[in-house]
Symmetry: none
Subunit: 128 residues, 4 copies
């Protein structure tokens, strides 16, 4: 599996797992129906506790990216379409970053180009 944990990071392990799976889906490496390793397998592979992986998987389920069942374990099941709440979440997360960039003298074009570069790094996939 493709998960790489930085144990020295301030970011909680479960969030690192979550983010890396989100990014693999964004890149198209993981597609609808693709199965994720079982909680216990992934936990032992990356050397963390079962509960840590379970927390990551459950948050991915809550955000509508995977489904979990006892028969097949966890697999990608993206529920596309964002609502107002999701948009507000994105805005709240992005706003302080934009403010920081402005303070440091970054102009709008530079910021846009940076975002575009990041977006394109996921392969420009706009379908599912």
């Amino acid at each position: 599996m493709f998960i790489k944990i930085d144990f020295t990071s301030d970011m909680p392990i479960y969030e690192q797992i979550k983010n890396q799976i989100i990014e693999a889906v964004a890149r198209g490496e993981l597609q609808n129906g693709d199965s994720l390793p079982s909680i216990r397998d992934l936990a032992s592979e990356i050397g963390v506790n079962m509960h840590t992986v379970a927390k990551a998987y459950n948050e991915l389920k809550d955000m509508g990216l995977i489904a979990i069942n006892k028969k097949h374990g966890a697999y990608i099941a993206v529920s596309k379409g964002y609502n107002k709440e999701f948009l507000n979440e994105i805005i709240e997360e992005v706003t302080p970053i934009v403010a920081k960039a402005i303070c440091k003298g970054m102009n709008k074009n530079e910021l846009i180009r940076l975002i575009e570069t990041i977006f394109d790094s996921f392969g420009g996939r706009e379908d599912g």
Copy 2:
């Protein structure tokens, strides 16, 4: 002072303080030389511990937004210009957000327009 803490939020209080000062600078409401309230005053005004305000101020100093000295207390002192480290920090913070947006089916134009709207909400200031 203009700081409003949401005690309901998951975001740590010191980070809320930090972000609101960053955003005030980005908006141009706080400019170089403007003084911030003393740690003690701000702490008592918003009803939090002095340590909490001190932590926010110290991180603002570390990121080159304010200066602190015994004589004048804390005041805005923006060191413009970003290095590679700063850029990497921005990239690391933005990447998981962009990935999430892609997963939910947001396309590049929608994302760019969202970022532009947020940028413009700070007054489009690209100077100091």
Copy 3:
């Protein structure tokens, strides 16, 4: 057969089977004497383990909705009339839902109208 399993759901499969049969009886689609598919057939049709279907059938038998025998297999055999135990079961199931609705600001009329709509969706059958 009319059973549709949502493998994405948190609801156990045996309970989904059970509920869909209960709802078919409530709608009048299944009537006394109508036979259900054999455990083996239903299991293979919906792609689940035989134990899972057997558990659903056994709970339906326990609640007095179906009968099972070697000769005819499983068939609808509704024992109408509810005792105090059944009433208490309903009350225990409904109470937390009503409490949740009240917390979220739903008033009595709104709740009653919702229940009526659901009731009527079964065809308003009040006989057997």
Copy 4:
């Protein structure tokens, strides 16, 4: 504190805790701003593990009934107003119960009267 756990119940402990707090809010016994015992205090009082209480509190936070912060611990903070998702959740929970009642020969008036009785048992509070 008012929480009573039935350790023989099939219902998970964290859900019993959650339901009893929801019901206390519905009854008006707990009002906005009222503080809940700390996770560890409640855990030791009812004789369960800290994590079990934490899970209940976190789900209450997710459904918008309480707020949690490190200074004041958990306290009631009801976000009134239900959206379409909440309504669908209620409908999905109530539908199998209504179906069961119909199968057992309960008519619409009997069911409505039962729901009304349960609703009124919370004090008929329709304000916050």
